[in-house]
Amino acid sequence: MGPLVPQGIISPEWDFIIALVIGIGFGFVLEGAGFSSSRNLVGLFYGYDFVVLRVFLTGGATAAVGILLMDYFGWIDIGQLYVQPTYWGAAIVGGLIMGLGFVTGGFCPGTSFAAASIGKMDALMFVVGTFLGAFLFGETYPLIQNFVNSGNEGGIKIYDSLGMSRGSFTFLLIIVSVGLFYFVPVIEKKVRKPEY
């Protein structure tokens, strides 16, 4: 039966309303999990707090298991899901810029909005910077257009590239996640959280 929008069960005009509802829920959870504090977020880079890693791995593994089970029950057709195409060069450069912004600004785009909504000044500045960056990208697009669009690999998937089945890759992801959940507290204990 699913996915609902590509199959026309929910018309694409609802996209923004659904996005708004999911976005509010997402922001609520981010704030509740303490992701509106840049100290928690950048702890990942300094090694005193791995909550970001935990949340993302849990989120990824849960979603993977959910989609696989729903596909098995015939509730969702994996082939119909949109997969963001991979652009190697642009992804690497973009990832570096994103990481640099993350560690210096203390937020990633989503969490900056969560933090701005509870009135943090640094997050507000971060949001302004986000729009400035988007504006700069738009203005310089003709110069970097060739690079941005080069090396389109299409919607490739990790398990295909590794030659694994979907299920065995998800199993591996769960094992790695559980292993890291046991391992990162060891690092957290060694690195002393700085006093503010």
Partner: protein, 204 residues
């Protein structure tokens, strides 16, 4: 506390093993039959001959005409800029590469509409998005662009504007130099194109 963690670990690994052992259904990018049926019923795949004519005259680079008749008839006559992909060869790899380009609108035509429609269904079936059909085919092209009927005197003024456009377009495609129509107008209404699907992308 420690018990809870061990319990969660066992549950997570259990789910992992379960997912690992699940039989895998093959992924398919084919469009489901009921969506295909809906698309067949809708008129959005059609480009009118007038629209095609105005795009050709304007040298619109986004238009790619595809002649689905066989090589011989293509050589006898074809629309300017059209490439020949006979219907039987449409699923060859090179041709699929041509047809799956996202930048261009690939418009099929044949003598009538039937073979162009068949080509359209085939390409839809394998998930191509930018394929269309020229309404009425070449027969309709001859009727409307090359030999347009003069509208009755009671017709609305748009019909006369359209006639003027068609006469001008016809002489353009015949290669005539002097335009017989004094007032050059482009009364052709742009056929609304399907919007590109905007898919929400992720991010943290």
């Amino acid at each position: 506390m420690q018990k809870g963690i061990i319990f969660l670990t066992v549950v997570a690994l259990g789910i992992g093993v379960l997912v690992w052992l699940l039989p895998e259904r093959p992924e398919s990018n084919d469009i489901p039959p009921h969506i295909l049926l809906h698309d067949i019923g809708s008129e959005t795949r059609f480009f009118s001959t007038d629209h095609i004519a105005s795009m050709l005259i304007g040298r619109d680079p986004s238009l790619q005409l595809i002649d689905v008749r066989d090589q011989e008839t293509y050589n006898k006559f074809h629309l300017p800029g059209a490439v020949n992909i006979p219907l039987k060869d449409i699923l060859q790899e090179d041709n699929i590469d041509i047809l799956s380009g996202e930048e261009q609108q690939h418009v099929f035509y044949s003598n009538g509409t039937i073979r162009a429609n068949q080509a359209w269904v085939l390409t839809k079936r394998i998930g191509m998005k930018n394929t269309f059909v020229m309404q009425g085919g070449l027969n309709h092209w001859i009727e409307t662009i090359m030999n347009p009927p003069y509208p009755p005197s009671s017709a609305p003024s748009q019909a006369f504007e359209l006639y003027d456009f068609r006469v001008a377009a016809g002489s353009y495609f015949r290669g005539e130099t002097a335009a017989p129509v004094k007032k050059q107008q482009t009364p052709v209404k742009v056929v609304p194109r399907r919007k590109k699907k905007v898919t929400a992308s992720g991010g943290c």
